[in-house]
Amino acid sequence: MSFFAFKRNKTSSSSVIKDMNRKQKRYESLVNVYSADLYRYAFWVCRDSEVAQDLVQETCLRAWKSIDNLLDDKSAKAWLFTILRRENARRFERKQLSLVDIDDYEIAAEEDTSPYDKELIRQKIDTLPIDYKEPLLLQLIAGFTAEEIAEQLDLNKNTVLTRLFRAKNLLKSNLKVEIDNNGEAHG
């Protein structure tokens, strides 16, 4: 029996507790800083608020379990999004989710100062092919650079640039926004 008592005493020694506290603090800051962006990304990927919340919960729990693997805090965001994307892929393996009516979306209150209809934009983003939509969401929601997106999606940077370019052009032409930037911009 003394073997067990010894082991417990050892784990509750102060250096371990200090380490646990540090780990907890680090985790809490990660959650506080990134959970909102993770949620927004998850929402646009799965188009369901409940599923998006579950995905973020799962992602964070998994992150907690392997937080010791995260050596550099600078790569924390990329690391979390990788976990989230993996979790989402796993969900798709389990089942294909039914589509949700676009009218059900809970959208943040906004001032309507733009001449474009945001509802229409949301619909158009939603109908983009996934190859275009994913880099676009990673850029606009998570704020990743083209290099970071390339790393996330395991593509080369030029492919990412092309996909972003096409996604935005597709949106623009779908939105029938005419942008007069031909000719002279080349000169």
Binding site: S35, R40, W64, E110, I125, A185, H186
Partner: protein, 254 residues
């Protein structure tokens, strides 16, 4: 940087910090216009994608994590107990055998010894509750799910209770691991601050304790229906008021 690459970059990543791109953008008014229009379009898309994040998402995530830690701990504690029980069992079995080999008459005594070494009885409900509240204090102090009475009833039903409106603010309601048994964990608004209420099923087998406290918290517990209701608050909280409120609003199956 040629024209096509510049145009692609401007539209795809107008915030690119690449020196060549920046130089090229500063080159002509038209180039600047292209970049600023692309930035505007990006901002428009960003605004469109800005969905409302659920209230206190971070708090919920941290709470979930604390449950996971608690669960892991309970599991590892059980592992110790399981090993200890196995060893006790083996000793219990082998001692009489050994002894019977040497002196058959003494085997009865040895069996009795083995029975004496069974595990200690269950912990008392009060100290488990205090420990639980203290451990999760930093989380529960922040969480606010604004749960409805329906949320409470869905979870309370399992313990044979039905609540009617009048509980006041419900900051949190969910199942939790109460030293390994599944209990209901509610955080309600008290007179002075937050009050934690546990509903612990009888079959969890804790030692009852009507009143308990430590340097930070105090608590009371009461047996109702097929469960124990444990109320824990800070030292200056009038817990009996909460007890009366619960008695008025929750009906328990007998």
């Amino acid at each position: 940087m040629d024209d096509i690459l510049f145009r692609h970059t401007a539209i795809a990543t107008p915030n690119d910090k690449n020196e060549e791109f920046l130089k090229r953008a500063a080159n002509s008014e038209c180039a600047q216009k292209l970049v600023s229009e692309a930035k505007e379009f990006d901002q428009l898309l960003k605004d469109s994608l800005d969905v409302k994040v659920p209230n206190d998402l971070a708090g919920k995530i941290l709470l979930e994590q604390s449950f996971a830690i608690e669960h892991d701990k309970t599991m590892s504690n059980r592992w110790h107990i399981a090993i200890a029980a196995s060893i006790a069992f083996i000793i219990g079995l082998s001692l009489p055998m050994l002894k019977s080999g040497i002196a058959p008459n003494e085997s009865f005594d040895a069996t009795e010894n083995a029975i004496v070494s069974t595990p200690a009885p269950h912990a008392d409900i009060g100290s488990v509750a205090l420990q639980h509240v203290q451990k999760e204090y930093f989380l529960t102090a922040k969480v606010n799910e604004q749960a409805s009475i329906q949320n409470v009833n869905v979870k309370l039903a399992r313990y044979g209770g039905t609540a009617k409106p009048g509980l006041g603010n419900i900051y949190f309601v969910n199942y939790c691991s109460f030293e390994g048994s599944s209990a209901l964990h509610m955080i309600l608004e008290g007179e002075k601050g937050r009050v934690t209420v546990f509903v612990v099923p009888d079959d969890a087998g804790f030692e009852p304790s009507a009143e308990f406290s430590n340097q930070h918290f105090k608590g009371i517990s009461e047996h109702v229906g097929k469960a124990n209701v444990v109320i824990v608050g800070e030292q200056d909280e009038p817990l009996n008021k909460m007890k009366e409120k619960l008695a008025k609003t929750i009906k328990w199956d007998i």
